[in-house]
């Protein structure tokens, strides 16, 4: 995990995205809940069970935002963790969900329409999922282990002086 440009003294938001009853799809939510239990001073933690424009509502007014979600890539190994930037999603900006846009498009829309209230930095932590089909409150073992690593590393990074 990189330090990125998360700067102390600024408004920081961590958002876990996903569905907590859909196995590994909920990894972002599970991580957010654990970070909330730990409690990191000066950092707001939110859960987002949707995507797109709801995320835009949520990030407005923050300086730095960390978004954690599940991802499924071609040939990826479950539990792999990817650190991504907004620019990494340019390719997907044009796919949109019915309501009505995905995260990358929502952020691009925010920069176009309400740029002065958008965060100066947005980064993504994505965990490769194994199962996003079976309804369950539990993650698969590899993803659960990675979730704990992400919690530990992020908590350490965000509490660092």
């Amino acid at each position: 995990m990189t330090d990125n440009d998360v700067t102390r003294g600024k408004k920081i938001l961590v958002v876990g995205v996903g569905n907590p009853i859909l196995s590994d799809d909920g990894v972002g939510i599970h991580i957010a809940r654990r970070l909330k239990e730990i409690g990191i001073p000066g950092v707001d933690i939110e859960e987002l069970p949707a995507s797109g424009l709801e995320l835009l509502d949520m990030v407005l007014g923050y300086d730095h935002v960390v978004i954690i979600d599940a991802i499924v890539t071609n040939g990826g190994t479950p539990g792999d963790v990817y650190n991504l930037e907004e620019g990494d999603f340019e390719r997907t900006v044009h796919g949109a969900s019915p309501h009505g846009v995905n995260i990358a498009t929502a952020l691009a829309l925010g920069r176009r329409l309400v740029g002065d209230r958008m965060p100066s930095s947005t980064r993504f932590i994505a965990v490769e999922a194994a199962d996003i089909v079976n309804v369950s409150e539990n993650m698969t073992p590899a993803v659960a282990a990675s979730a704990q690593s992400v919690v530990d590393e992020l908590a350490a990074e965000l509490t660092r002086d």
């Binding site: 907590p20 859909l22 424009l53 829309l109 329409l113």
Partner: protein
């Protein structure tokens, strides 16, 4: 509106050498859907299907849980319409516990729900429909999205879209506890009283939403209805026209109601053929299973399943904005009623008697509903009695019950049974997109056959096939979302032997 060069409605098709076209995943459709188009030896469409994915184990997950958990569990089925699940589920609990909600609770639930409609219909119109109608079905794929729409209509309008959609969310948050996955519904009532300050805040937001809906109606008239090329597309009976039954909820005067009422079904001529209470739904609806898809296909039991055909002998019905506008006899609010009358006059002038069977009229119906939802939201938010503390009714022993509401996409049915301790022993749900699924397939098949001929395909043509189902605002997912923007579509065009000829996808 900033100057724009006008929508790009047609493009130039090229000859394909393949016999099966797959659209997968479907652009702007939540959940991973796939359209398969099979061509015959002449290069015309033999058949087309929309396949949807499966979520496994939800019923098993619910059995044995306390039924009072279901409004917060079932709303996790979907990141798109959780509010609709929450309302249907809460109404099912009213029935399970034989608990009549108080007047205040009913008003608060409906107010919350009008927030959901406002947000949902704004998002659909501007983010999903507008790329087709402002930029055009054949606009370049990298422009045909909400960002392209903002470029075309201007950032000021874009900001208004964001603001009013967000007002809809805010109303849900104030009344429902959370905007996205609400938690306020209880059998016989709601868990949270609202303050006068909150009511006044919602009243102000609702006033603004009514004005924005008026603007949206005008935009539809100026951009779409005034454009003859679009009217030709909408009125194209070869591609976008199905004579089906229609289903939707109405009040005692047969006016549209999203929250409560009886379910009315009309036939292809507009005649009422069913009017039933939620508890009677199994007398009216059966479900057909096809081997090639996970989603069941409901049909009218008394008419029967006759395959993907239309007309009075086929039990296929349509729900959602088009279904509701065809089963209702108008709206209780003035602006929505006026626009309903405008639609009725337009179709009458075109020689249409009875229901509007033109599939693309879904969009007009949706905008009328946006107007109604905002007006109803204002009525309810202006009612000072909604701050009363009388928010819980009497709850009795749990048994079995059905709750129905109109989700933005159509009739949504939740049916639960409970043991004496309140533990769930049975759950059945028929969701809006499922109700429409047979009709969506029929529409996709019809549009593909009308638009793809003699081996000629193009992105614009395939997008016009997509338009045939996108107007239903289908949502397959119930939980699907992904960081990599996966709500998406692949179109496969296949030869008669099944081998792949061409694939178009957006990922």
């Amino acid at each position: 509106m900033t100057h724009m060069s006008g929508p790009i409605i047609n493009d130039t098709p090229t000859k394909t050498t393949e016999k099966k076209i797959t659209i997968d995943p479907i652009t702007r459709l939540e959940g991973h859907g796939k359209i398969e188009i099979f061509l015959n030896d002449q290069g015309n469409v033999a058949n087309a299907y929309l396949q949807v994915p499966e979520l496994r184990g939800f019923e098993r997950f619910c059995i044995g849980r306390h039924v009072q958990e279901l409004p917060v569990l079932t709303n996790r089925l979907c990141g798109v319409c959780p509010a609709a699940h929450h309302i249907a589920s809460t109404k099912a609990l009213d029935a399970v516990f034989n608990a009549e909600p108080t007047e205040t609770a009913k008003k608060l639930r409906e107010l919350f729900y009008m927030g959901q409609y406002t947000h949902s219909h704004i998002a659909h119109f501007y983010a999903l429909a507008a790329p087709d109608f402002v930029l055009g079905p054949s606009a370049p794929a990298n422009k045909k999205n909400v960002l392209g729409v903002v470029d075309a209509v201007g950032v000021e309008i874009g900001a208004e879209v964001i603001k009013h959609r967000s007002y809809g969310q805010k109303v849900q948050e104030i009344v429902g506890g959370r905007a996205t996955h609400p938690c306020f519904g209880l059998p016989g009532g709601v868990s949270k009283q609202i303050s006068e300050e909150e009511r006044a805040q919602m009243e102000e937001m609702a006033k603004s939403c009514v004005e924005f809906a008026k603007f949206t109606v005008k935009l539809l008239h100026d951009v779409v209805l005034a454009n003859q090329d679009y009217m030709d597309l909408i009125l194209n009976q070869d591609a976008y026209y199905l004579e089906t039954y229609y289903m939707g909820m109405v009040d005692k005067n047969n006016k549209t109601n999203f929250y409560d009422g009886d379910i009315r079904v009309v036939d292809q001529t507009g005649k009422e053929v069913e009017k039933f209470k939620p508890s009677e739904y199994l007398d009216v609806i059966s479900e057909h299973v096809e081997p090639w898809t996970y989603m069941k296909m409901p049909f009218l039991k008394k008419v029967g399943w006759k395959g993907f055909t239309t007309g009075p002998s086929s039990g296929i019905y349509r729900v959602g904005p088009l279904g509701r506008i065809n089963v209702c006899e108008g709206y209780t609010t003035p602006l929505a009623q006026a626009e309903y009358a405008a639609l009725a006059k337009t179709v009458k002038d075109l020689g249409v008697t009875g229901p509007v069977h033109h599939t693309l009229a879904f969009h007009w119906a949706r905008v009328i509903e946006l107007q109604y939802a905002t007006e109803r939201m204002l009525e309810l938010a202006s009612d000072k009695s909604i701050t009363s503390d009388d928010i819980r009714g009497v709850v009795n022993e749990p048994t079995e019950g059905v709750g129905i509401c109109e989700a933005p996409r159509g009739t949504l049915i939740h049916h639960y049974a409970s043991d004496k301790d309140g533990l769930c022993t049975k759950i059945n749900m028929i969701v809006a997109t499922t109700n429409n699924y047979a009709a969506i397939n029929t529409s996709v098949n019809q549009a593909a056959k009308a638009l793809i001929k003699n081996w000629e395909v193009s992105p614009g043509l395939l997008n016009k096939v997509e338009m045939a189902f996108r107007c239903y605002d289908p949502c397959n997912s119930c939980g699907t979302h992904a960081l990599n923007g996966s709500p998406a579509l692949e179109v496969n065009v296949r030869r008669a032997d099944g081998s792949k000829l061409e694939t178009l996808k957006n990922f």
